[in-house]
Symmetry: C4
Subunit: 279 residues, 4 copies
């Protein structure tokens, strides 16, 4: 990953310094802090996972509990530090990240009162996203943005597509419920719709399958629809990508940073770019 | 959604006014009517769904029956209003929507005579499509049209594709029936064809699976065919989409077609195109 | 479908006439003959299918046998007519179609001697392809050719792709056999490879599934590979299509029938086609 | 495959000659050697496979053992020859291929001491890749490189994509574990994550399926995500391919990039390009 430019944090009072370390990643200490945090999050997620494995839980119950508490305390301290150091605590508290950070700790405290909620700690996995952001891996966040853009751009098409899928699934599910009925495992219309989704997405669990010839014919049709229709969103997204594909070619004059690879002139400022090597 | 331009319906006799409200969506009242209708349809569909869930049905049988009748009566009234208000009742009666509207009510009346048909009420879901249309969500219907166009455009290719899939499936199904036979669950050729479809579409219920080495080899081939061949319709549709999305803007000097809509200069000959109207 | 140009067959001796009717589809009688043949083939295929359904077979055994014999006799007569009427009988006999036609009849005769082979009659389905050809649905055969071309063009890429898939599948299958072993249903390496194919193609029968944590981790990897890697053939084929997409635009001077939609001049003869409306 | 240019190996001392034969494929003997090796590898892989089939193993145990040893000895000799003949033995020993060659023999020797490792011999399949390379099927390796390039080029996008999939899968798996719990077969969070992968990749073994309405709703969502989201990597790779396949031929007058290789005239400005060398 692109190493962030390292600033000097001498000549800052300790509050500014810590703020810099915890909220930014443009100092040696800041990067070190984020990397440690990254590992802490991964480790704590693993602990929660393992503590859900019966065999494992029985053997190492105590160790797991201790680890869980250690991580929770660490994250709690971090949480309060963030509140204390941030310039507008309220804003942070109500921000998406503020809430995630809170939810990453309370379940453990709740587990003192009631049983089981500690699995909610898995929400910590979401904090990894922040690490992405903090480490300012610009390249990745660019890609993420471009992905998002393409998807948004094809939003209306996708909506129509899913509206149609929804209607197909509801009608087919109902038909199958009428044809096969509870005696073949199609217990109810909602369940039959679930079955239709399992089928049209080509997942095909096989927890319930058509027993009548009629039902098999109908589900064959549904499968083929699902199999062929996947082409539609794929086509939509492909085209969107093709359209906002980041060429990475930059116009030296006006700085347009998405010049088409086949461009001879910058479409924005008209600069002749034939000399410019195509990346 | 784009709010429809709101017309005034003062100075219309009540018949015209109601016609406007029920058939159009370009008045405040018309939009309100359609939105209410939309919710009524969704609610009635949910009622039908729930009444198919045994546990639920036992508990709330009476309430569900009442709700069903309420919705049916409402829709019946709407149906007769449409007939009464439309200028050519016959045309409406025989139109796609007229038939859907009818089918959305009669099953309840039939359920007085015979048992079970009320599930056919799920056909009401189709009325949602009309809401789409009525609310004149032009953007969406445009998208739908463009989707439809692309699919139609690649119709012949798709036909050939499915003809080939059909033949593969029939031959493979027969082969498996001969190889595996009833003793391995391949009861008959039609069923084996059903199995082949389940396999080539990568649904893979697993309700019947090859038991012999020979059969496993054959179905492996079938899976790989299905896995690779999905690329074909996808490719077809993608290309169609790509063709639908050309800007159509032409550079008057070098004649480059498909100049980006946000271009100030032709990216090819560098001509200043800011004067040129963007299509 | 595009009605073939109808020629007159008066003034031909009966042999020529029958040859025209049976081998060509450019006469009223010829088309009628082919359509009848088409229906006969479909009907006979259905008979074979049904005769494999136990319940059905018991009830209508005699009728099915009779039907089977009727169709067989009809096709046999047609077969001998073709031999008798064709100009080079030997060439026809050894041609792909000649062999198919033969195989579409003998199984019935064999069924007099031995049991069961009549299911091979399903090969008749292949004759449908000929109907396609005979009816000279040029448009369809064009599409088929274009499909074929695209696939061939990307042959080398596809080969590499499948070579890699093959090696992944073999290694993964072996690994799973070592990890899971027969006690978890992975009876042998060939079977484990079959399982790996079922998994990487996302078919997922579930007839055998990983029982150990290690095995589940490995198969998760395999699934994700299969899920992501499908993008590769799709991408390949899409691009091929994009490249030899038939624009259907024809150059009026040199007759090049695949002028790009964005072309101002025919790339073959240089004719100015800007006036020419783009289809 | 493109026959390699055949050199003469007369006038070389035996050491050079053997080096040429074993390491290169540009002599008649060299090609013959590689082809033999290719078959030996395939045969030995089949032997290992078969020896894992119980029924088969019991019958032909001795023959299989003998075959295994023969192949092992042959490959060992080849291995030592390579070391002996190569100019920098150390380099070869530590190279990827050197290690593969070693691992392709030792398991058999190990099987004298301990039980079972002979299945590791399947690693021999990897040697096929070398044959590819040695036979210098340039065309194929080109394709492979182009494939690799496209994939690498879209590396960052793919990484983001999988990071998101990972997080979805972890959160969904945990949710299902909380909703369904061990009583419905969701034994632990790691197992539930495995289930989520099985579902989002549309594999759908069905070894464990949601039992509660809530769980079915959630997994329906997961399926649709998996079904729609496959469009993203596909789109990415398609675009990359499209970019890799530009002819690079430029029209000297209008400057159109990407002139078709078979063009006589620039399709845009009509310039005669027959003189222009085709890249």
């Amino acid at each position: 990953m692109p190493r962030p430019s390292v600033h000097d944090i001498e000549g800052l009072n300790w509050r500014q310094r810590w703020h810099r370390i915890i909220f930014e990643a443009d100092t040696r200490e800041g990067v070190r802090f984020d990397v440690m945090l990254l590992w802490a999050i991964l480790a704590s997620v693993c602990v929660v996972m393992l503590s859900s494995v019966p065999s494992f839980n029985q053997r190492y119950r105590d160790w797991l509990t201790i680890a869980e508490w250690v991580f929770t305390v660490v994250f709690s301290i971090e949480y309060f530090l963030r509140i204390f150091l941030s310039d507008q605590p309220r804003k942070y508290l109500l921000s998406f990240w503020g809430i995630i950070d809170l939810l990453s700790t309370i379940p453990t405290y709740l587990s003192l009162v009631i049983e089981g909620p500690q699995y909610l700690l898995m929400i910590r996995i979401l904090r990894l996203l922040r690490i992405f952001r903090i480490l300012s891996l610009r390249r990745y966040s660019d890609e993420a943005r471009s992905l998002g853009h393409s998807v948004r751009a094809s939003g209306a098409k996708i909506t129509v597509f899913f509206a149609i899928i929804l209607i197909i699934v509801v009608l087919m599910g109902t038909l199958m419920y009428i044809i096969e009925g509870p005696e073949n495992g199609f217990q109810s219309i909602p369940f039959s719709i679930y079955w239709a989704i399992v089928t049209i997405t080509t997942v095909g669990y096989g927890d319930v399958t058509p027993g009548t010839v009629m039902g098999q014919a109908l589900s064959s049709a549904l499968m083929i629809i699902g199999y062929a229709v996947i082409a539609v969103p794929t086509g939509i997204v492909s085209v969107e990508f093709a359209q906002n594909m980041r060429s990475g070619r930059v116009c030296p004059r006006c700085g347009l940073n998405d010049v088409d690879n086949d461009a001879n002139y910058c479409k924005q400022c008209g600069l002749d770019m034939r000399s410019d090597p195509q990346t």
